[in-house]
């Protein structure tokens, strides 16, 4: 079923090849740090069903910083065929854009390009962290599950690297993610939705305008899609996934 194509002991990131027949255009899906690959399966299947030769890059929870994750991603991509379409979601998109690998284009769903603190994120930014953070339980915030509030329909989470979690907490406190978006040369397609409490439209869209070559698509009720999408649903709901595949294929959105 899943064939391990590359496993270099020198890199912590794991690369898998999901393509049964191969021969299609190449897409690499970056599994967001802290997320289980299970949550990415709908996205992987969607690209695979559309004829893409899909690879995934997963990061181990091994105490890395963002810079180290970016290096792992660059190393992993260098072992794959050139001309990859890089597909990412949320924090995975932050790592992907920070790595600035040589790719054909980026397809980003709900990317964390910048941050504007809110009560729930500010509260989470003050939580104590160790060398690694178990993300499977959800702390309670204001009488609600923090995961539900921030992710909407949370996909399965695993473990966060402590240094990375602390970096993210620092971004929340400072209200800014340091990303040199002006230096990203490849075309970037971005799907966002009003219902996303993490990759909020007010944080993502102004930041996205710093990208020299970008397309921004607002998904949700205003696109007559029946609902707005939470951060979790941007990874799993068929409508954002269909939009991402169409963008990767250069088709117009429906």
């Amino acid at each position: 079923m899943w064939m391990l194509a590359l496993a270099d002991a020198a890199i912590a990131a794991e690369v898998r090849d999901f393509t049964p027949g191969g021969g299609g255009p190449s897409a690499t899906v970056v599994v967001s740090p802290g997320f289980s690959i299970v949550g990415f399966l709908p996205l992987i299947r969607r690209f695979s069903a559309d004829g893409f030769d899909v690879h995934t890059v997963e990061f181990a929870c091994a105490g890395q910083t963002r810079a180290e994750l970016e290096q792992e991603l660059r190393t992993s991509l260098s072992a794959l065929p050139p001309g990859q379409t890089l597909v990412a979601h949320g924090l995975g998109a932050t790592v992907a854009l920070g790595a600035k690998p040589d790719v054909k284009r980026y397809i980003l769903l709900a990317p964390l390009l910048d941050i504007r603190p809110m009560a729930a994120t500010s509260w989470a930014a003050a939580l104590p962290t160790g060398p690694s953070v178990d993300l499977t339980p959800s702390p309670e915030w204001s009488g609600q599950s923090l995961k539900d509030v921030l992710l909407g329909e949370p996909p399965p989470l695993t473990c966060g690297s402590g240094p990375l979690v602390r970096e993210v907490q620092g971004w929340v406190r400072e209200g800014h993610i340091p990303l040199a978006l002006e230096e990203v040369d490849a075309p970037v397609w971005i799907g966002v939705s009003l219902g996303d409490e993490l990759a909020t439209v007010e944080a993502v869209i102004p930041a996205a305008r710093r990208l020299p070559n970008r397309t921004i698509l607002r998904l949700g009720l205003n696109a007559l899609q029946g609902r707005d999408f939470s951060h979790g649903a941007m990874l799993t709901h068929r409508i954002p996934l269909r939009a991402a595949v169409r963008a990767a294929r250069h088709r117009k959105p429906r």
Binding site: A119, T121, I205, R209, R218, N222
Partner: protein
């Protein structure tokens, strides 16, 4: 029992005065005024296709009365062509553009309130187009007689539109065929149909989870005014992304860097008419050192995600929005 309750409500509610003033270009403007002699005056300005009842739907759901109760002299304005200002002595008053609200109506309204109250400085609360009108005014009045302002869901940046708003901006010519669009008729239908409205129009206007069904129905009957041809024409110029002057020369977002008025901006996570990033652009354009930005959302500790009409009409607005507005004005005497 009911009579006693009504008597108590009557005692607690001030008498509403309807006051009129005339603009320099001869239009008559009506105010609903809750008198609070000697107290700081606040001018409330509604949005497009709305009237002053947005802020004063009924005693139990009224920002105007909450402000009066908090010690403000409340002047709830109807811009020309809306509510109390729909007709003047010469008949229907049709605005030729959005600019005339900022260039003619606000200066006349401010001067009148200053003259009636003797106050040098006023407070301002604008919802949606009511905040855009303030931007038009501020663009030509860098030292306005304003102690502070609150902007509820007003966009100045319309770049990267969603499919719906993009379609509206690219088809504003439809709104120029007739003198006005019959939006009050459509709103009554939405109020009656509620969640059964076609294309989920109700959810475009408000978050049904936050607004009582009765308020939904009554507001759709009472707060809606026509959309005028002049408004459609000027909004049509925004299809390239920026809210511009009616002659297309000025981008208002670029005219506010000298403004020093303390301003509070509130946007809503479920505001499908004005997404929060569009309000943020206004917030960032204003030069004031004293300004604040709030998104009314569940993740920010609110009862839910606010939609476009929820800032005044959601049940929770009484405990979540009104106190913030009052506090902002009180802290900026």
């Amino acid at each position: 029992m009911i009579a006693a309750f009504l008597f108590q409500v009557a005692l607690a509610t001030p008498a509403e005065e309807i006051a009129y003033t005339t603009t320099e270009d001869g239009y008559e403007l009506g105010f609903s005024h809750y008198d609070n002699p000697g107290k700081p005056p606040v001018v409330l300005v509604h949005g497009i296709s709305c009237n002053h009842r947005f802020y004063d739907l009924e005693p139990e759901q009224s920002l105007a009365l909450s402000l009066w109760d908090a010690g403000f002299d409340v002047w709830n304005l109807d811009l020309r062509g809306h509510g109390l200002s729909l007709k003047g002595k010469k008949g229907r008053q049709r605005p030729s553009s959005v600019d005339v609200y900022g260039e003619q109506d606000l200066p006349a309204a401010f001067a009148y309130v200053q003259q009636r109250t003797g106050a040098e400085k006023l407070h301002y609360v604008g919802h949606s187009m009511g905040g855009m009108v303030l931007a038009i005014y501020l663009a030509t009045h860098p030292e306005p007689p304003l102690a502070s302002a609150v902007v509820l869901a007003s966009p100045l940046d319309l770049r990267d539109p969603d499919p719906l708003i993009g379609a509206v901006l690219h088809n504003t010519w439809v709104g120029t065929i007739l003198p006005s669009l019959p939006t009050p008729f459509g709103a009554k239908l939405v109020g009656r149909l509620g969640t059964k409205s076609p294309l989920q129009i109700d959810q475009l206007l408000y978050n049904p989870e936050l607004m009582e069904r009765g308020v939904q129905q009554r507001s759709m009957r009472q707060i809606v005014a026509p959309v005028w041809r002049g408004e459609s024409r000027q909004f049509g110029l925004a299809k390239d992304g920026d809210f511009r002057s009616a002659d297309g020369t000025d981008i208002y977002r670029e005219r506010l860097s000298e403004i020093k008025v303390p301003m509070l901006f509130i946007a809503g996570r479920a505001d499908r008419i004005v997404h929060p990033d569009r309000v943020l652009a206004y917030y960032e354009a204003v030069g004031s050192a004293d300004k604040e930005w709030i998104v009314a959302s569940r993740a920010n500790g609110f009862a839910g995600d606010y939609g476009h009409l929820d800032y005044a009409l959601a049940t929770a607005a009484k405990t979540e929005i009104f106190p913030r507005v009052i506090e902002w004005l009180q802290n900026h005497p």
